[in-house]
Amino acid sequence: MTVALSGKEVASKIEEKFSGSVVESTPENLVVKSDQLLDVARFLKETGGLDFDYLNFVTAVDYYDHFEVAYLLSSLEHNHSLMVKARCYDRENPALPSVTGLWQGADFQEREIYDLFGINFEGHPSMKRIFLWDGFEGHPLRKDYI
Amino acid sequence: MKFERYGIGIAKGLTVTIKHLFRHPTVSQYPEQRLNISRRFRGNELIWNQEKCTGCGTCAKTCPQGAIEIITSTDMAENKYVVEKYEADTGYCIQCGLCIESCPYEALYFSHNFECAKYRRGELVQGKEEMLETPERKVSGYFYPDKAEKLPKQTLLIEKVTEKR
């Protein structure tokens, strides 16, 4: 059985290294500051005992006032998982750092989020639309898209 | 293509294909040879029981495609709904069966027909009269096991022996 690590415990570990990077932590997940996402992600991937080497999925949810991007991380070695989230409050030009450098599996999924939510992932090798054509207006999965 | 195995694998494969030359073919010739379809077959048409229907409209609300249109009026004397219009657009229907499962009064069934091709899109819309049960329009046993028992047993490919000739 994959153990879902408590967000609170992991948050305390992160706080030791990067203080002030965790916005919120619950037993299910933890929310990190978007500008420190990349550092936290690298910490999660490379710290012994955590070793989150497998990115299950990346997705975004539109909560009207902010976008929440969720990363489900797993460790195949220790068989545990953790949901990490980051929030974007800018609706016009939302941006987050890309994690493709750490987990290549995020490549198409970040493009998909860019396509359907309009969140720009900085540092992604080819940030362009994936499903819809280039001239498409709007981002369909936003709640205000009709 | 290393021939370190000297073509044994190729020879094995050739025996399998040549064996099939002397076996019965699996296929059947459709318009002449007809197989019995599943008793629970979700046919292309809906069948509606006018007596049982109360006009509650649950089916129309459940339909994920919005293919069912129902208009009712209130009959004050009898104190019930009268179904004035009941239409199912089989062109939009995806045969998911959720309307049949949701019907609280067991008034909606699938038909057991599958040859329902039409020449015009408009002909695909089933009106009230075209939804009634007739001898040609048999009721499928989907979600109603008691109806299924009356239907012929499904032909299965596992019953057909393709090994021997």
Binding site: F57, N79, M83 | G9, S38, Q95, C96
Partner: protein, 367 residues
């Protein structure tokens, strides 16, 4: 020794015999050698995630059929697990067993297609493909018997399955289980040791263990690279912890290994079905679930080991009758991440078989 020529761009797809649907690749070729490829998606994009936000929890199930349309049962199961997790519904025992039988039969059917299509891509002119389809036909017959449909089954419901198995199902399944190993042996004989296939597929398109993990590859492709990771054992969903089965793995991670991996997984699936058949209890098949499920506010992620890999549904609820957000983790899309690194430097014929060995369904990629 390679002679360099002027590279040119070849547009492969969206209509091409071996792109398995409407998938398109822009391939840069140097003679016959693939220099670079860029996959282009979206030709089958139907916006299923957006559509799901406007449908009831039950109404999403027919949509999931149309994701990976050759393994609909698995999609149904993944979605139902997620919805049940969200709403906290307990599924009756018999329904769990039926779900396991169905999803394992579906795995056999889908893997047969995967293997057949792969061999067809290698150039075996439709023979393995048609043989595999014949076996799949026997399974589809069983599905038709239970659900009434042959492709989009829409059989599972939140809280169980739509209806109980008909009484003629178990004898037919038993007969199928007796016949299947014999057919599997015959297919192994057909091409498994064929010298030409070995020359074509062995050592071609190697995906290393590290890269497979880094690219979030899942399913048979991951295990063919030597990672022993199967969600059925790593994170047992439904009742998979009650069955005794092995997780076969391969070592190199080339096309031939992926082919072997699929064949061996089929055998393990048959093993699970046999155990589930023996243990199948009687009882209700559907929990008492209101027609319009209204889960509490929250989110849930449920993932299953679908034939293609880890298929997950991430549902967010706002206590209404429709999901607030329904994200699908598509194994086919994510498995394609490593395609570019796998095919670079191989010939155009190898591109086809490497692509075929990943085994994608475009319905799931584009959603």
């Amino acid at each position: 020794m390679a002679v360099r020529t002027e590279p040119f761009v070849l547009n492969m797809g969206p209509v091409h015999p071996s792109t398995h649907g409407v998938f398109r690749m822009r391939v840069t070729l140097d003679g016959e050698v693939v220099v670079d490829i860029e996959p282009v998606f979206g030709y089958l994009h139907r916006g299923i995630e957006k559509l799901a936000e406007q449908r009831t929890y039950t109404g999403v199930i027919p949509l999931t059929d149309r994701l990976d349309y050759i393994s609909s049962m698995s999609n149904n199961l993944a979605y139902c697990l997620a919805a049940e997790k969200l709403a906290g519904i307990k599924v009756p025992e018999r329904a769990e067993y039926i779900r396991v039988i169905m999803s394992e039969l579906q795995r056999v059917a889908a893997l047969l297609i995967a293997v057949g299509a792969f061999l067809n891509d290698c150039g075996a002119y439709f023979t393995p493909f048609l043989y595999m389809f014949r076996e799949r036909e026997r399974i589809v017959d069983l599905f038709e018997m239970a659900s009434g449909q042959r492709l989009t089954y829409n059989y599972m419901r939140v809280g169980g399955v739509s209806q109980d198995l008909p009484e003629e199902f178990m004898p037919a399944l038993r007969k199928f289980m007796d016949m299947m190993p014999r057919f599997m042996d015959e297919y192994d004989q057909l091409l498994m040791q064929n010298e030409i296939l070995l020359a074509r597929a062995k050592g071609v398109g190697i995906l290393s263990k590290e890269q497979a993990i880094n690219c979030s590859i899942s399913g048979p492709v991951l295990r063919a690279s030597g990672v022993k990771w199967d969600i059925r054992q790593a994170d047992p969903y439904s009742i998979y912890d009650r069955f005794d089965f092995d997780i076969p793995t391969q070592t190199t991670g080339d096309c031939y290994d992926r082919y072997r991996q699929r064949v061996e997984e089929t055998r393990q699936s048959l093993r699970i079905i046999r155990q589930a058949m023996e243990q199948l209890p009687s009882g209700p098949v559907r929990a008492e679930v209101p027609h319009l499920v209204r889960p509490p506010v929250g989110e849930a992620y449920a993932h299953i080991e679908a034939p293609k890999g880890e298929l997950g549904f991430y549902l967010v609820s706002d206590n209404s009758i429709a999901p607030y957000r329904c994200h699908i983790r598509p194994p086919s899309l994510i498995n394609l991440t490593a395609l570019r690194d796998m095919v670079r430097g191989w010939k155009i014929a190898d591109l086809i078989i490497i692509f075929g060995s990943i085994d994608i369904t475009v319905g799931e990629i584009d959603r």
